[in-house]
């Protein structure tokens, strides 16, 4: 560091702009932490169980996270743009699933799924307008929208379970291409597109800027409200897609089909080290978090640990990850 010039801003308080050894560690920590953690889990899993490190088991893990992973991609956008979290995921998943199965006989599976995704996007537009333009608290907005949308979804099917009628579609989604499950391929495509949007497009850049410093972003002539809103529209659309996939694989759809996905998605993103304060994070990191949670779960399941303990592990994981983030931020000199 040759650059040791001073930063005395309005307050006259010396700035903390220099990189020191201590905060270099704090800055690098989050970047290398996740891959190391995943490798560690793989090693531990292999040592603990001979069934763990097999292609069959690991592919199963991938299949299990694929549908959730589609939602995680959207939730990452919400986090980075400092939108806190989208709690309307269960509703939009249900909309996707119910409409896909409900409209299947009339217009075919593909068209029905498309309608389901668009309807979910509609819910996202409502949340997005309320959060981005009217600047209402995202938690309450998405909870409220969730209640309404879920109510409408139930209403539309009379509050009962919808059954699917297209076994071909189910077979296709459950099939494999070159040994890779179709559902995993879909997830990977969504993740790659999400990653490219976030890292290579105008919108992605705006998402980061909006989350890091909304005032400066607005002062840089960026459409702040639209950027915020788009994160929620995207999450809703992707949840709709996840719902459609879920409906097609299960061939049944209850209104409560998506319950729990919102928390699981948040867990993955938070464990991926993405801060609620926005402005940083990436799709690979969120997926790293997702993989970490999934592998941990897998190890616990293989060991016959009750599901409830897995819930506790998840809760502790969130607290641990967020505390670590807050600690690192304070140490890294960012507030």
């Amino acid at each position: 560091m040759t650059d040791t010039k001073l930063d005395t801003t309005i307050t006259g308080v010396p700035g903390t702009s220099r990189v020191t050894r201590a905060n270099l560690g704090a800055r690098l920590g989050p970047v290398i932490g996740m891959p190391v953690g995943i490798v560690l889990l793989l090693v531990i899993g292999t040592l603990l169980s001979d069934r763990f490190f097999s292609v069959g088991n690991l592919v199963n893990v991938l299949i299990n996270i694929s549908i959730l992973g589609v939602i995680v991609v959207g939730m990452t956008f919400v986090f980075i743009t400092r939108g806190v979290a989208d709690l309307s995921v269960p509703a939009t998943v249900a909309v996707g699933a119910i409409l896909t199965l409900g409209l299947q006989p009339a217009i075919g599976t593909f068209a029905a799924a498309l309608v389901g995704i668009l309807a979910a996007c509609g819910a996202g537009v409502v949340s997005g307008i309320l959060i981005g333009y009217a600047r209402i608290n995202p938690v309450i907005t998405t909870l409220g929208v969730s209640t309404i949308v879920l109510g409408i979804a139930q209403w539309s099917v009379g509050g009962v379970i919808v059954y699917g009628s297209d076994a071909d579609a189910q077979a296709f989604v459950n099939s494999r291409v070159f040994g890779i499950p179709v559902i995993v391929i879909i997830f990977v495509i969504v993740a790659v597109i999400g990653h490219l949007v976030l890292s290579r497009t105008t919108l992605g850049r705006w998402v980061y800027a909006a989350g890091s410093n909304p005032d400066a972003t607005r002062a840089s002539a960026v459409p702040l409200a639209r950027t915020r809103a788009s994160a929620f529209v995207m999450t809703a659309g992707l949840s709709g897609l996840a719902g459609a996939l879920l409906g097609i694989t299960l061939q049944t759809a209850r209104p409560a089909i998506g319950v729990g996905y919102e928390f699981d998605a948040i867990t993955a993103v938070v464990v991926g080290g993405i801060s609620l304060l926005g402005g940083s994070g990436s799709i690979p990191r969120a997926i790293g978090g997702l993989l970490f949670v999934a592998l941990l779960n897998n190890i616990l399941v293989l060991h016959g640990v009750p599901t409830a303990v897995q819930g506790i592990a998840k809760g502790l994981l969130i607290v641990g990850a967020v505390s670590l983030d807050i600690y690192l931020r304070r140490k890294g000199g960012r507030s």
Partner: protein, 497 residues
């Protein structure tokens, strides 16, 4: 009169800046002691030391005869020091009475003694002759009324010393009169009052003693009798010009930016000015005069309620930053941390932010074009280190400022508004920034420069507008502008002289 407070030999340094050097201050009971000085002279630092926000590097504080260490704001309050800051520190959702007694609410068994609460608040307000309903919600009051409540809150603690930091900066002449009454009333009660103000006339009216600070040094302390505004200004600005500001002579073209009768309630009114191509126009004035507010409204960050902004004769209709950028206006903001940088993003991402749309096709950013553009700007401005992937919050203040300027140069503006571009920036970076401003003007950019550093404005500008209390009080040509003339207009003295 008894000495209530004595600060002896107070020194305070922040890395790179000597904020206060060996300053003495004696405040006596029943006396108003005014502290005057230019922006950044050290007045606020001195008061923050008194409030316990900072600890002095050297010197001692003697309160009521015994030497004291003030541990923090709450400790200061307990020791009888009442602080009234410029920015209001009240709770909008509680009533006036509750605010006045906050933290010291009269109670019995944990229950509010509502009668006692209301009586105590009324007593203070009556003493101030203020017609404010103690049961009204604080948020429903005007700013001047809130200011009075803020003082009442300090007064209700029966302090021996009250510090008023720029209490009139947001008040009208009439409202200020009510405040003076209160100050005199507190003086009559035997409170030692430390009064900080830019308005020299009210200092002369109110103060018994005046201390002048300049660049952290105590220039003089004397009785206000016989002191004139002109003399105070001389004491405040009479410094050696240590910085050399080279001025390039460039041809000046047609009017590019025209601001006509711009008004924003509570901030500024009837602001009319123009800037020509190649011209550097200074916007001078004291803190709180409305300079930044005018700049933000011209750019479109804040809404103006009346008036017009024209660029090359075309009026800007929808007033948003995006419109401003489209019309060729760029604004380097005053508060770099808040409005300037996106801290966690790289230099590249910061610089390209306003022009991303032009760098991308259908939303897809062309990385090579972006890189070229950013490299060019980073080189032109000499950002160090010139590593465009570096996160901006790892840079020094001067380099952060260069990044913000680079960001707006990348937008190739016709009009560049620079709001305190060299504040908190070291000497080297400052010279760089001045050189850039000169080059931009030579290239035909119309530049509006806001700076609290008078020598800078004087040296760099072709013309200077002076704002005072939200109005343009003077337009000075380069040849007729000097520190005294600007200060006279900025303190509102020009009108009275």
């Amino acid at each position: 009169m008894t000495v209530a407070l004595e600060m002896r030999g107070i020194s305070k340094s922040f890395p790179g800046i000597r904020a206060l050097a060996d300053v003495d201050l004696v405040a006596r009971a029943g006396e108003v002691h005014a502290i005057v000085g230019e922006n950044g002279a050290g007045k606020s630092t001195l008061m923050k030391i008194l409030a316990g926000v900072y600890q002095p590097d050297a010197g001692s504080i003697v309160l009521g005869g015994s030497e004291t260490r003030i541990a923090g704001p709450i400790d200061a309050r307990k020791r009888g020091i009442g602080m009234v800051y410029q920015e209001l520190n009240l709770v909008p959702d509680l009533t006036v009475a509750e605010n006045i007694m906050l933290g010291a609410t009269p109670a019995r068994f944990g229950f509010v003694r509502r009668r006692a609460l209301s009586d105590a608040a009324s007593a203070v307000l009556d003493a101030f002759n203020a017609r404010i309903d103690p049961s009204a919600l604080l948020g429903s009051l005007t700013v001047s009324q809130q200011q009075i409540v803020e003082i009442a809150k300090a007064y209700a603690q029966h302090p021996s010393i009250i510090v008023l930091d720029e209490p009139t900066s947001s008040l009208s002449e009439h409202e200020a009169q009510a405040l003076f009454h209160i100050v005199r009333r507190m003086r009559a009660d035997g409170i030692a009052i430390i009064y900080i103000s830019h308005r020299l006339r009210e200092v002369l009216d109110l103060a018994d003693q005046v201390t002048v600070l300049r660049d952290g040094q105590q220039i003089d302390t004397r009785a206000s009798d016989g002191l004139t505004a002109g003399e105070m200004i001389r004491l405040m600005v009479g410094r050696d010009l240590t910085d050399i500001f080279p001025k390039r002579v460039v041809p000046i073209g047609d009017v590019v930016l025209e601001v006509d009768g711009l008004m924003r309630a509570g901030a500024f009114s009837d602001v009319t000015l123009n800037v020509r191509a190649g011209e550097i126009v200074g916007l001078a004035g004291l803190v709180g005069a409305g300079r930044t507010e005018v700049a933000r409204a011209v750019f479109g960050l804040d809404r103006a309620q009346a008036g017009a902004v024209r660029v090359d004769g075309a009026e800007l209709v929808a007033r948003t930053p995006a419109q401003g950028v489209a019309a060729g206006i760029a604004y380097v903001p005053e508060d770099r941390k808040r409005d300037g940088i996106v801290p966690s993003a790289s230099i590249k991402d910061n610089v390209s932010l306003p022009v991303l749309r032009s760098l991308s096709t259908a939303g897809w950013i062309s990385r090579s074009r972006e890189r070229d553009l950013v490299r060019e700007q980073v080189e032109t401005l000499g950002v160090s280190p010139p590593v465009i992937e570096r996160a901006v919050d790892t840079l020094s203040g001067g380099n952060q400022q260069k990044v913000v300027i680079a960001k707006w140069l990348a937008a190739r503006p016709r009009v560049l508004i620079l709001d305190e571009p060299t504040r908190g920036v070291d000497v080297g970076a400052k010279a760089d920034i001045h050189a850039i401003i000169g080059e931009l003007a030579a290239a035909g950019t119309a530049i509006l420069l806001i700076s609290s550093e008078l020598p800078e404005v004087l040296a760099v500008s072709d013309r200077i507008y002076v704002l005072s209390e939200g109005r343009v009080t003077a337009e000075l040509d380069r040849t007729e502008a000097d520190e005294a003339a600007v200060m006279l207009a900025a303190t509102g003295e020009a009108a009275h002289a």
